[in-house]
């Protein structure tokens, strides 16, 4: 993994009150690559993901220590502007969560709150561009004024991806983005993720081993809050170093 590193995590710990949810995690996440996170339920994957863009700040008693750096900037530095951090680090969730607005306004939202356009022409242009990037444009270009809820689940998820892309983040975090989708929508999203890595650094949580094997360049395996193994995906899925990793990914676990 001799790539440019976008995210550096050193001796990182996270706590929900007494609960020690991430234990001394050290990990380098390369730029323009896809990193998959796998591990049993409750091992801390979502906690890790949400620690990258400080989505956990609102949770009472949530504390972290150690280092979480994006491009050399400490995410938990007191002087950092959390809104601009979230602009640089977008997120897509397990269930598509469009706003109760039109398709157009869903994508426009991030541009409006961040004032990222000069005039209507630029706004329209950016919206179209990100819908194209998300692979949704052809399906919705004549229905931009329809409610986002009229889209199918897979389309809604791609809309949420377009919404994340439109503000041009550097990093995209995805927490089980295809968990509620059918195989065709899943395949579309997987294809999309692989196209997107050209311009973005992607961290994806998945419970589907084959999905991690298909799309990720690197894969990390977490258990009980600890990073157990981290390697290029092809090695993780042909010959992992640790027995426990092999037992988990082959379903011999527990």
């Amino acid at each position: 993994m001799s790539d440019e590193i976008r995210i550096v995590v050193k001796n990182f710990n996270a706590y929900y009150g007494e609960k020690h949810a991430l234990k001394n995690v050290n990990i380098d996440i390369p730029a323009n690559k896809i990193m998959a996170m796998i591990g049993p339920s409750g091992c801390g994957k979502s906690t890790f993901l949400r620690s990258i863009n400080r989505m956990n700040d609102l949770i009472e008693n949530f504390k972290v220590d150690g280092q979480m750096m994006i491009d050399g900037n400490d995410v938990y530095d007191k002087t950092i502007d959390v809104t601009s951090l979230r602009r640089r680090v977008g997120m897509v969730f397990q269930k598509p969560n469009p706003f109760p607005k039109t398709i157009y306004e869903n994508v426009a939202y991030g541009l409006r709150v961040n004032r990222l356009f000069k005039d209507n022409k630029e706004l329209e242009h950016k919206i179209e561009k990100s819908l194209v990037e998300a692979g949704l444009w052809e399906e919705v270009k004549d229905d931009l004024d329809k409610s986002a809820f009229e889209l199918s689940g897979g389309q809604q998820q791609r809309l949420c991806i377009a919404r994340a892309l439109v503000i041009q983040p550097e990093v995209i975090l995805m927490d089980e983005p295809t968990a509620s989708l059918d195989p065709i929508s899943t395949a579309k999203i997987e294809e999309l993720i692989q196209v997107l890595k050209k311009d973005y650094t992607i961290v994806i949580v998945t419970h589907n081993m084959q999905q991690a094997a298909r799309v990720a360049d690197n894969t990390s395996f977490f258990m009980l809050g600890e990073l157990i193994e981290y390697d290029v995906t092809s090695r993780m899925f042909t010959k992992p170093v640790k027995k426990i990793t092999e037992d988990y990914i082959t379903g011999r676990f527990g």
Binding site: Q210, A213, K239, T250, F253
Partner: protein
């Protein structure tokens, strides 16, 4: 945790073991037909190759089915892909045994050239290597597997010895050339069998350790 998949893998293992034991029987029969000059046995070996080919196809289908349905990874993936390779090496060994059966039928038309000592020794060595490779597969014993690759040289040396000796007979008397060549080819077949068993042993090391030791590539 016991998986349903494990039952299917066990079934695959059973089939590859069956394949190995059929092949082993073929070698034994082929050499017996040569030593005891039994034409009916030689014909039998040649015909029985069909049965081995059928099992080969069966094992292949099982592997493809598991790859498609289970999308195996890690040790499961290494096991299935190794079985596919071992299967094809076993099939080749079966072909060679059948071919020996064919050559024995030709040889029996001539008087015996010389007492056979090294050829049965080669066959014994090949069969012992084959037996150990199957044990290594079942027990995931890489020490045993590595030991097999070392024994390949013994078979090579015996082949060279047979070649020299038969050549001398052929030079002594032109009449010995036709059956001499068949004998050399039989020895060559046994030597090739040992190469295939060596491949099998290397696949087992890869399967267990994820390391390639083929082509003297031991990192």
């Amino acid at each position: 945790m016991e998986r349903h998949f494990d039952e299917e893998l066990n079934n695959l293992k059973k089939n590859i073991l069956k394949m190995a034991s059929l092949v082993d029987e073929s070698i034994a029969k082929a050499i017996k037909s040569l030593l005891e000059r039994k034409e009916d046995l030689a014909i039998e070996v040649e015909n029985e190759d069909n049965a081995i080919d059928m099992v080969e196809i069966e094992v292949d289908m099982l592997c493809l089915d598991l790859l498609a349905r289970r999308q195996p990874i890690a040790i499961d993936l290494r096991f299935i892909t190794s079985v596919m390779k071992i299967n094809s090496d076993l099939e080749r060994i079966g072909d060679l045994a059948a071919n020996i059966g064919h050559k024995v039928q030709i040889l029996l038309k001539y008087p015996q050239l010389k007492p056979l000592i090294d050829i049965p020794r080669m066959a014994e060595l090949v069969r012992a290597m084959l037996k150990d490779s199957i044990t290594a597969l079942v027990d995931k014993n890489t020490e045993l597997a590595r030991n097999i690759t070392a024994r390949d040289h013994e078979v090579d040396e015996l082949y060279v010895q047979v070649f020299r000796e038969v050549l001398t007979h052929m030079m002594d008397d032109n009449e010995n050339i036709k059956n001499g060549i068949e004998l050399i080819l039989i020895a060559k077949h046994l030597e090739r069998m040992a190469d295939h068993v060596t491949n099998i042993a290397e696949d087992i090391v890869y399967m267990v350790e994820g390391k390639t030791i083929k082509h003297q590539f031991e990192p």
